[in-house]
Amino acid sequence: MADAVQISGSLRSRLTATLIGGAAVLAVLLYLIARTYAAQIAQQGQDNVLGASVTSILDAAVVRDGQVEVDFPYAAFSMLSTPADDRIFYAIYQDDTLLSGYDTLPKAAATPGDVSFDTGSVSGAPVRIATASRRMIGAELRTDITVSVAQTQDSLSGTLTEIGRNVALFGAGFFLLAVALSFWATSATIGPLQRLTRSVMQRGPQDLSPVSRPVPSEMVPLVSSLNSLMGRLDHSLRQSEDFIAEAAHRVRTPLTTVRSYAETTLQRVDKEENRQALRSMVRAIDESSRAAGQLLDHAMITFRADHLDRQPLDLVDLVQDLVQGLTPVADMKDITLRVHGDAVVPYAGDAILLQNAVRNLIDNALKYSPGDGAIDITVKAGPTPTIDVRDEGPGFPQADMARLPTRFARGSNAAGIIGSGLGLTIAQDVAVAHGGRLVLGNDPKGGACVSLSL
């Protein structure tokens, strides 16, 4: 955990950048296509009007007395009025001679029967030119009339600028929408990854169960390898715990045998030195077997905590039973065990674990308080089910308080008192397994106070 993870970029920004980049390219494409298309349509519009104008002039051409007359209608030019007041030019040719109109207009060849379009310029002004021609046949006359009408493109370019502006606005809007969408899409995609991270981070230190919530198919390989990693970890952890339990068990049994032999021998030995030695031996054996017992308990608790066997029970009942069992020990030290609090405290929990925890707390109180006193055990139902154990001893050494519930931690006041440093650890593990906690405190009037809330 402490090792910094090497970072190479970010999925979120890579995804966002790709999406936004794509949207930008699309927006520009949209703009170009719409513009080109609009230009074509606008040009088409102008061509249509120019074509109509040319046709109406050509239609007015008649041969009268061997002379060509072109009495074209007013509409031929009035249809060319535009909002930008475009200039118009025209030319009417009979074969190759200009009959009337502008000689500055470039002469274009035309195929009879249809209108051809071209772009050119008349005295520097760019124009669109429509040209058509028609064969006139009179009495002794056979001639081609060619008509060109040209118009500047101010109105057209005005329209195009306007369309261009609108399309650009449209494209920008499209782009902004796409940006918003890509942010949304990115967080929707990254979401499951973040949820997985959060659920892994929020796990308790003991929780090595596989991830069970459904994940997107792309994340399956990652999650399944994570699950198998955790499974292996869990397995090896359990193996080492099993090993400890096994070891403790194996040590305890022969120790019991050794102890009974030592006791028997003590009866028979008279010499004071030897008795002293034997008593020390018994004490050491007790200490070892107690430690082995607590190791066993601890291993058991670690195991059971993962598979909590919750059963409805009454905490007061549970405490009463324990007190009953411990009264003989207490009597030996002239200590009274008193139970206070609510009459009934129903709770669903693992009875074996809870008994173990409370026994350890009462044990401690007996061990660390002087004889001839009382231990008060208070069981309360609300706001959360709590068991307080209070003695009249010297209390916890202030300096050690924070580390006492860790494994094998013993206080400065523990010298000469049998113990392994696992009692409070067990109580705390049980509390945590039930979703509660263990709080150590000292009574200002003297005496330790341990509160196990569930």
Binding site: E69, V70, D71, F72, P73, Y74, A75, A76, F77, S78, L80, S81, A84, D85, D86, R87, I88, F89, I92, L99, S100, G101, S123, A125
Partner: protein
Amino acid sequence: MRFIVSLILAVWAVTAAAQDWEERQVFASGAAQATPLRVLSSTDIALFEPVLQSFLARYPGVEVEYLVTSTASLDTYFRADPDGYDVVISSAMDLQLKLANDGFALRLEDVSHPPRAQWRQSLFAFTTEAAAFVLNRAAFAGQELPTTRQGLIRVLRAAPETFRGRVGTYDIRASGLGYLFATQDARASETFWRLTEVMGALEARLYCCSGEMIEDVAAGRLLVAYNVLGSYAAARGDLGGQIEIIQPVDFPTTMMRTVFVAERTKVPGPAVDFLRHVLALQSADAGEEGYALPPLAGATGEALPSTIALEPALITYLDQLKRKTFIREWESAIIQGP
């Protein structure tokens, strides 16, 4: 006005200039080193002088040379020498529009003018003037006055002997404005041709200009003048007793006098000032009295529907073939000599 020293040099160009000017006059406020501004116009000095004076009052540093000629020769002169003039004013909308279309007019993007009264930001209209009948009051005493072309035809037919040789109209071959009125009339109704034939049968006299026609009507040499500029007649307050001006109600033909700054002017600053000044004086809401020319109608609102539109279609009748045909038909109607 009072601090302006009006220096008026009336010089009739006789030989010096190649052109024959109807009128030529230099207006200056007497300031030293005044910028010369040549204004080519078809509008008589008498009508335009107040406008010129008010321009000089505002821009004393400009010396205006005002040259008057007929609409048709104005077009010819200007095309022959497009560098020679700075501002061009004419009542022949078609010729003016063709000049602008051919690129002789300067584009003035920042002059704001109603769209119907300008073309391409280069040709600007500043009056609205209708063609009218002008009648001799004495000849029509006690009679009902004709208010339509049909009515006029009836009156003329009823007394051919009275009107023979005493009917006048524009010679459309010589007058650009006359040609514009005639072509627009012909576009509007066939009645124009019937009236022309009736006038031809009465040996109509043909004139180059409105002014002479009005004077002849006032003097009794003419009894009826057709398609005369009503504004000119109205401006002749001195003849008010002798003439009657009638705006035909069947279809009025209304033109707009237009002005533009020459593309190749060497003094664009004063030329544009002049144009702006004319437009401002003539806008309908200027409301100042004393200018002989009628203001631009509907400068703020809708233009009169009958007003000839400023559009490129105006060049239709300027087409050589069409003009030839039109004039041939007109001649055969109006000239029915023996």
